[in-house]
Amino acid sequence: MLNHILSILIFFPALAAMLGFIIHKDSIRAYGVAIAAIEFALSLWLWFSFDSSASGMQFMENLPLVPAFGINYILGVDGISLFIIILASFFTMIGIASLTDTKNEKNMIVTLLFLQMTMAGVFAALDGIVFYIFWELSLVPMLYIIGAWGGPLRIYASVKFFLYTFTGSLVMLVGMLFMAYFYYQATGAWSFAILDWYRLILPESFQLWLFAAFFIGFAIKVPMFPFHTWLPYAHGQAPTIGSVILAAILLKMGTYAFIRFSLPMFPDASVFFMFPIAVLAIIMVIYTAMVAYAQEDVKQVVAYSSVSHMGIIILGTFALNVEGITGSIFLMIAHGVVSGALFLLVGVIYDRRHTKMMSEFGGLAHVMPRYATIFGLMLMASVGMPLTINFVGEFLSLLGFYKQSHILTLLAGTAIIVGAIYMLAAYKKMFFGEVTNEKNKNLPDVSKRELLALIPLSIITIWLGIYPKPILAPINNSVESIVQLMHDKSITNEAKTRIPNLVKGAEIAKTSEQGAH
């Protein structure tokens, strides 16, 4: 069973969803929770049986799909994907568990289970086409969730979300086809297997074009600065659960793909595009933070804030050294937890008041102290307070990128300032001051069901902030192998110097540091 655990992780929820159709709608929630819990347990088992010391792929599965065209059903996890898979199943679980009564709940839960399948698939896939299949498929349930349970603008938002991402990924698909074709030219056999592509050393010009093709797909998903405008709509209109999954997992697909595809496949291109992308990332950080500060809708604040944080993740990824990439991967997890929690929290107040306008609130700390406390905790995590989960990631990402550029890191570092500004402003508007609005006078504090979701998240936030090692170590191993691969593959001197050679890491680091001055 253990050597097919990934397939089980992927298809178990899908099958369960199929069965879900025949279950009566009164008992569907229990069913959904049970399935999600089993899924989560499975993913934990995956972690348990995962060999943290190994850097390569584990639990590999390989099954020919279209051998004539080199498409195989290849799965596997390493330190990079493992925790995102766990996070996904975790969020599906608490998402369903904390689902506040929605109209035709049944469809929602079935959809969520399908979504879970696609998410597990994306992060477990090791074949370009299989990856692409799940990548695209994940759009459909999200489209339905936003479009069917969303706010007044839901249709515009969902269609925009779908088409925007769809367009980007089609360009990416062409890139993949080129990659496969180059592999075919090099070896005489078609293959879409990522691990095969890793072995391919391309001339720099090809790398640049392919990098660009993949970049469009990923950047729209992340979403990076000029391509980010679908996100506020999607978040603004989506129901709570939709935003939670979207922010916690779906956005991570983009950043994950950067690390899984762009970096190891095109090391020289990555170096070439490092600074332009870093500039974009910094724009994301500062600009979106300012936009977030201007919002009147608390959910939009959180939405823009997650764009801002994705900027740091991108920056860490393109630090191209172990510290940075490890940091960015850790920050993916961290941001997943924190932004997910924040969206849940927004949902809590939305269920009570059916508005997300901050002007409607004020002085909530009087009426809902527990709520205020948890919100405060997540707020502090979001602004990167040490000993919370976010800090580890942000610290490492920035630390990593500092190696590449001082001034850019200084600019990106302003994240800790601007982030504090919009978050504290929002918190002040909502929780501090006297209770002015009559409707807020006697709101009930967070209920048991909501705590069911929030307490675990709070615990994770603190625990991983204090003791990130169990996650950091496996990530680190896998990242080291990737960085080494990049260094060995790279052909330009620029790349050779930018990407550290871990075989004799220390003094390389020193010398290139001197160089960077």
């Binding site: 925009k160 610290f395 001051g433 003791y467 540091e513």
Partner: protein
């Protein structure tokens, strides 16, 4: 010894969590008493450690567990108790113990009682991490932790707009500085390959000047934020919105001195870059004078004390900047005692006066509250630096440092500031405790604070008086880790002249303050008097208009730019482009669908037209076929 280390470190945390349990429930004494006792325990264990160190014991260094480890980076939760950190631990635990016990009385009637103690102990915990950590990352944890707690405590009365505003201001300003700190840390890591103090300071010697300078500058920027040095000073005065014990603990004794501690910690680094040191010193001198001047005219009891704190921090930085790290640390310690005392006294007064802060509305309180009167007077004496109080030894030492290091400008500035200090402290004392009972006009019936609050304050009083006598022992101790430079004016005569001169100057200032404010002719100013209207006074009372400038030229533009970014750029440019492309495609469809007129004859025309078009193209091509070679070359561009 490690046991004591952990006790000292974690008992505040335990206290905080314990009080936190009662966070939501109505206030219970227990939630206050237990944390205070736990802090006492922490104090005791710190004392044990101090004695151990004093008795020539090795420095205690423990590594609890790994925090972050990736690539070459390795950051443990490591703690070190050496001469420097133990001093800080003593100061922190002592003052905070006192403040805790004091607060049990002070917060007696507040409904946030439990919350308060939870926050307060949490603060102490972060402060302990800050001073005990053995690496920069750990320091940064504490650094941010105290920032968080200070945010919580300044905004403790979150229903007050001003309080929450001040809290956010403090947090954000500190964040600005923390960025500098962070960059400093990155510099340290990428140049020395580690963040552990010992390894870092072992390798700094081998680095080139430029890098070191940048390190020094960025780390000091961090210090500037926490210690509220110009231009990041405005938050400290506003932070007085918090409960008075908080001001006493955080904004006088401990947190604000973290910056000084950082510079002292990093002394091997700053020794290598004297020019940065000089900058620090000059800034310190400037701030000393700057703050003191603002204290002269202020009409808010707590703000006056806050400015004096600011000014004293300036002194410390002068010492630290000039390389007299032990002096800085010594003044830090002494200052902690008497300044905390002063604040707590002020707290009593506030209680008595029902949170009235304007000293002009008090007067003659010495009759009703003797204890407080004595304590505050003595504290002010110590602050003014009269022999043999603590202030004399620490502050005059700094003056001497300035003199001996031949920075006469700094020396003069500091000397003058000493006079100002004496003046405004005693202006305050005089206004509060002497003269006629102006408060009667406002129908207030003041009363002395609880006995045990006074008792709780007494240790501070004692130390404020005798702290100076430890000077030599202290010197012996810390110079084990800090550069042991004796600062003595070489000729004895000069020394005596200086000392006595200073004393006379200070006493004159005091006398002047008394003469001006301790008489019965003092009226509650109503903004009409000539003095209040002259420019100089206005400038001072408006804090040189700096907060105004920040509001006008930083905050407002940021807010406006943000909304422009959102409404104009994001909505009208970025998003509009995307929708525009889609719109163009769709409109293209709407425009061209008329081609499908549904009329058969048009359809046939289209077919024929298409054929004709192809034909003509064929003819053109057929004519051009003799140039087909070239054409092929051109057109082969279509494929690939």
């Amino acid at each position: 010894m490690e046991l004591y280390l952990y006790l000292a470190l974690f008992s505040p945390l335990a206290g905080s969590l314990f009080a936190g349990l009662f966070g939501a429930s109505p206030r219970t004494k227990i939630a206050g008493v237990v944390p205070s006792l736990l802090l006492l325990l922490s104090f005791v264990s710190s004392t044990v450690l101090l004695i151990y160190i004093l008795s020539g014991g090795e420095k205690v260094h423990v590594e609890m567990m790994t925090w972050m480890a990736t690539g070459d980076l390795y950051i443990p939760f490591g703690f070190i108790v050496d001469q420097v950190s133990v001093t800080m631990m003593m100061v922190v635990t002592l003052v905070s113990t006192v403040v805790h016990f004091y607060s049990i009385g002070y917060m007696d009637h507040d409904k946030g009682f439990n919350r308060f103690f939870s926050y307060l102990s949490a603060f102490v915990f972060s402060m302990m991490i800050l001073v005990m950590s053995d690496n920069f990352a750990g320091l940064f944890i504490g650094w941010e932790g105290v920032g968080l707690c200070s945010w919580l405590l300044i905004g403790f009365w979150y229903h007050k707009e001003s309080a929450t505003w001040a809290a956010n201001e403090a947090f954000i300003m500190n964040r600005i500085a923390d960025l500098g700190m962070l960059i400093g840390i990155f510099l340290v890591y990428w140049n020395t390959g580690s963040l552990q103090y010992d390894q870092v300071f072992a390798t700094v010697g081998s680095l080139d000047k430029e890098v070191l300078t940048w390190m020094g500058i960025f780390l000091f920027i961090g210090a500037m934020g926490k210690s509220a040095q110009f231009p990041l000073h405005t938050w400290l005065a506003d932070a007085m919105e918090g409960p008075t014990p908080v001001s006493a603990l955080i904004h006088a004794a401990t947190m604000v001195t973290a910056g000084v501690y950082l510079v002292v910690r990093a002394n091997p680094l700053y020794d290598l870059i004297p020019n940065v040191g000089l900058f620090i010193a000059s800034l310190g001198a400037f701030v000393a004078l700057f703050a003191a001047s603002m204290a002269l005219v202020n009409r808010d009891m707590k703000r006056i004390i806050a400015y004096s704190t600011l000014s004293q921090l300036g002194y410390m930085f002068v010492a630290a900047g000039l390389g007299a790290y032990w002096v800085a640390l010594f003044h830090l310690m002494a200052h902690a005692f008497f300044k905390a005392l002063l604040f707590l006294g002020a707290g009593n007064v506030m209680h008595a006066m029902h949170n009235e802060l304007d000293p002009f509305k008090m007067g003659g309180l010495r009759k009703v509250m003797k204890g407080t009167f004595i304590m505050m007077t003595l504290a002010s004496v110590a602050l003014a630096g009269i022999y043999p109080f603590a202030g004399f030894f620490s502050k005059d030492l700094i003056l001497e440092v300035g003199f001996v290091e031949n920075h006469y400008i700094i020396y003069t500035v500091l000397l003058f500031t000493a006079g100002l200090t004496a003046f405004y402290s005693f202006r305050l004392v005089a206004l509060i405790f002497h003269g006629e009972e102006r408060y009667k006009l406002f129908g207030i019936h003041p009363h002395e604070a609880y006995k045990f609050m006074l008792v709780a304050m007494s240790p501070l009083l004692l130390l404020a008086i005798i702290a100076g006598s430890f000077k030599m022992t202290y010197f012996e101790m810390v110079t084990a880790v800090l550069p042991a430079t004796e600062y003595h004016v070489h000729s004895a005569i000069a020394y005596w002249i200086m000392t006595i001169g200073t004393q006379l100057f200070v006493i004159l200032a005091i006398a002047f303050a008394y003469k001006k404010y301790a008489n019965n002719k003092v009226k509650v100013p109503d903004g009409t008097s000539k003095m209040e209207n002259n420019l100089c006074y206005k400038t001072l009372s408006n804090q040189y208009y700096i907060p105004y400038i920040y509001e006008e030229y930083l905050v407002k533009p940021y807010r406006e730019l943000s909304s422009v970014f959102w409404k104009q750029v994001d909505m009208k440019v970025v998003d509009a482009t995307v929708d525009g492309i889609a719109g163009i495609i769709y409109a293209g469809g709407e425009k061209t669908r008329v081609m499908q007129s549904g009329n058969l004859s048009t359809m046939l025309k289209w077919m024929v037209a298409g054929t004709i078009g192809l034909l003509s193209f064929a003819v053109v091509f057929g004519l051009a076929v003799r140039y087909s070679g070239e054409i092929k070359i051109i057109l082969s561009g279509l494929g690939v």
